[in-house]
Symmetry: C2
Subunit: 213 residues, 2 copies
Amino acid sequence: MTKMNCVSRKKKRLSAEQRYERLLKAATGEFLEKGYAATNLDDIISRAGGSRRSIYTHFGGKEGLFQALVTQVATQILAPVRQEPDKNKNLKESLLCFANRLVAALLSPPALDLSRLALIDGVRFPELAKAYFEAGPGAAASSLAVLFDLAMERGEIVHLDSRLAARLFVGMLRDNLYLQVLLRLREPPEQEEREELVSNAVEIFLNGITRQE
Amino acid sequence: MTKMNCVSRKKKRLSAEQRYERLLKAATGEFLEKGYAATNLDDIISRAGGSRRSIYTHFGGKEGLFQALVTQVATQILAPVRQEPDKNKNLKESLLCFANRLVAALLSPPALDLSRLALIDGVRFPELAKAYFEAGPGAAASSLAVLFDLAMERGEIVHLDSRLAARLFVGMLRDNLYLQVLLRLREPPEQEEREELVSNAVEIFLNGITRQE
DNA sequence: TTGACTTGGTACTGAAGAATACCATAATCG
DNA sequence: CGATTATGGTATTCTTCAGTACCAAGTCAA
């Protein structure tokens, strides 16, 4: 009833592509918010407009719809997580910058929703779990490992397993505060608190791996 | 039909308490394995014996059953996580010991199941999320903070926010490897790999906070 | 303009599962 | 031993929701 102008009662129809996009967008919102099982198609319909049929013609069903967006959304939402560290700065500045961006990205509402989705529905859709990890924490750790390798070559830090160190550092940023936010036990921290976390983490970690003369 | 001996067809009945316990135990298994929504009462019944009615008389329904076990199970499963660190050893030994136990506890199958449960159903049952955090990662960080305070008094480590440091260290142990296991992307690591994680984490972190003379 | 095709909206079907009703029987007590 | 109560087992109801069928109304092409 939303789109008819009162007299002529035209029910506007969208093109296949427009409908496809609107469905995908609505579904993304619903699935991210509530997870696969708790989302019902009617809610998606009412957000996207159109009819039940369109879901089946375009995606083949609930599962098809979910899978169509999973990988795409995962890589998209986690794009900020994957930003390459700046190799020109010195290690401390690179680390600080990298960590700040990573923490902000991980604590952003869409990324939090996606993390929950991956944990909740990763059992039913293993590709989701895989896509999430590889597009997010995995990619972040890989970039970081490169940074550590460089610093090692320059003799700034001690010799160590760079991939292991990267894993640990990324984990450290995903600390108990992050866990509390993920569990909805508290609100995401503001800039100030995020920076306190990051500066302390970088301070300790960097001090821990810096070569002592 | 399981419990009758062929001739006299005696259907053994259990006392209220025994039935209560068996239901609780069966429900724990099912809920931990599959989460709240995916668990159905029939499966619990068939594991525990008895009838649907007994669930309603004892617990009032599915929700009642779930809530009856949630807090109890959380504190029980996470008991190993909460072991007090040994304050007589030096800091490095204490940390190593603490971290080894924590990692082993967090990566144990029941704790992994519980973590998933808290993340999945923490939305519907906030007490679960709260109980999980406080009985697990929160408690671990608290113990650790005490250890850091002691070391600070003894001048072994630099002056820092012990609670923040504890948060970070616990997070570091919950690294990408842990995340992969949680997402079921890989099997829990064996002793050897766990020790590699722990020794590196302790090495870096301790080095990062040790007072330099 | 008209007929073929597509899409929107609604109604129906079937399955899953929670909650409830009912009956027969075991346990308990007078 | 018989009456009362509680429990086990089964059948039934009710709700939710994915998937499908169908009709009407819009769109497009000849």
